[in-house]
Symmetry: C2
Subunit: 199 residues, 2 copies
């Protein structure tokens, strides 16, 4: 068993996930969101695309068996296990501007966006390259008639997790989300670990 | 009155829209989609962001009065008139890969993505920079419970239009969409014109 890594509340990390490796993201306490973005390790202009993925999957709720596509329509990873089944792929990472515009905060935390930007800097990936994120455990509802969205507390409980398998070599950024509404107004840590393929 | 410009079926164009100018996009025959993407004219790393816009508007169906945000959370344009009220902001422009993956075409048209890429080349904007597009008149339905999406014929009739006003200097790319399903299996032209602000 690989040891579990901890992302402290309101922070983020980045790492390489090689083709065939599996990443498990765990909600340790429950009701905590983790934003994920990823890039082709060997050409970081290729990035995870919500638009391509939703188009090909024909659903906005992605779960076990779904494949996630890049902006170039290549498969980046798939979900091989998911104990929750509800994640968001519509919204961008929370940022200082999110806190100002949505929450009215004057002195705003830099949010998942700032945490992702800092974590990706060593890989030469710039803040402007951060796309719509796959927001693991984030519970966004949509009214199909009006189009209205709402952000509810995650349905994830302590120990719930999702496992993805890389289908290309990836640089992955991952956070313990910083937005009050997304996490039922309590900031918690996120666990992650990489399992190597059995030789 | 400014003359109307025509985008022939399955093609695209790009142009500058200065702050304060209004762009009207017209569905000349009805049931024709037009994909729109835009960039800050003076720094093309700043682009139209579906994730920011949907987050701040709290709806996936954008219409009159809504403001459209960049990846840096700056307002790029707003909708000042809209005779249809149904557009998509979830999906990326159709591409050769779309036609292969969704339609099973072996010899695929390069689609709106190729048309946008060609139109943006003179502005130094690369294909990898093309984000999720605002798909004017595109009729995508969502089941709020299952998350399933479906692409239906546009509700737009001959002469229907949408008018946006730029809130920064923009490079805009616009198409007459190339995907069968999006346009009720008949490719048609799109009209557009720019009205300058009254001095």
């Amino acid at each position: 068993m690989e040891p579990i890594n901890i992302i402290p509340p309101r922070s983020g990390t980045a790492f390489v996930l090689k083709r065939g490796e599996r990443l498990t993201v765990t909600d340790i306490q429950g009701e905590q969101v983790s934003d994920l973005v990823c890039f082709n390790q060997h050409d970081t202009a290729e990035y995870l695309s919500s638009g391509r993925t939703i188009d090909y999957a024909e659903t906005i709720f992605l779960s076990t068996g779904h494949r996630f596509y890049s902006n170039r329509s290549n498969v980046m990873f798939n979900i091989c296990e998911d104990t929750v089944g509800r994640h968001d792929f519509l919204l961008t990472p929370c940022s200082a501007e999110t806190f100002k515009i949505i929450y009215g905060h004057q002195s705003a935390h830099h949010g998942c966006f700032g945490n992702i930007a800092n974590a990706l800097q060593p890989y030469g990936i710039k803040p402007d390259q951060i796309p719509v994120s796959f927001n693991i455990f984030m519970h966004v509802t949509i009214d199909g008639n009006s189009g209205k969205i709402a952000v509810l507390p995650p349905t994830s409980k302590s120990g719930d997790h999702i496992t993805i398998q890389a289908e290309m070599d990836l640089v992955v950024a991952l956070t313990a989300c910083s937005a009050e509404m997304s996490n039922n107004y309590s900031f918690k840590e996120i666990g992650w670990k990489i399992d190597h393929p059995i030789k």
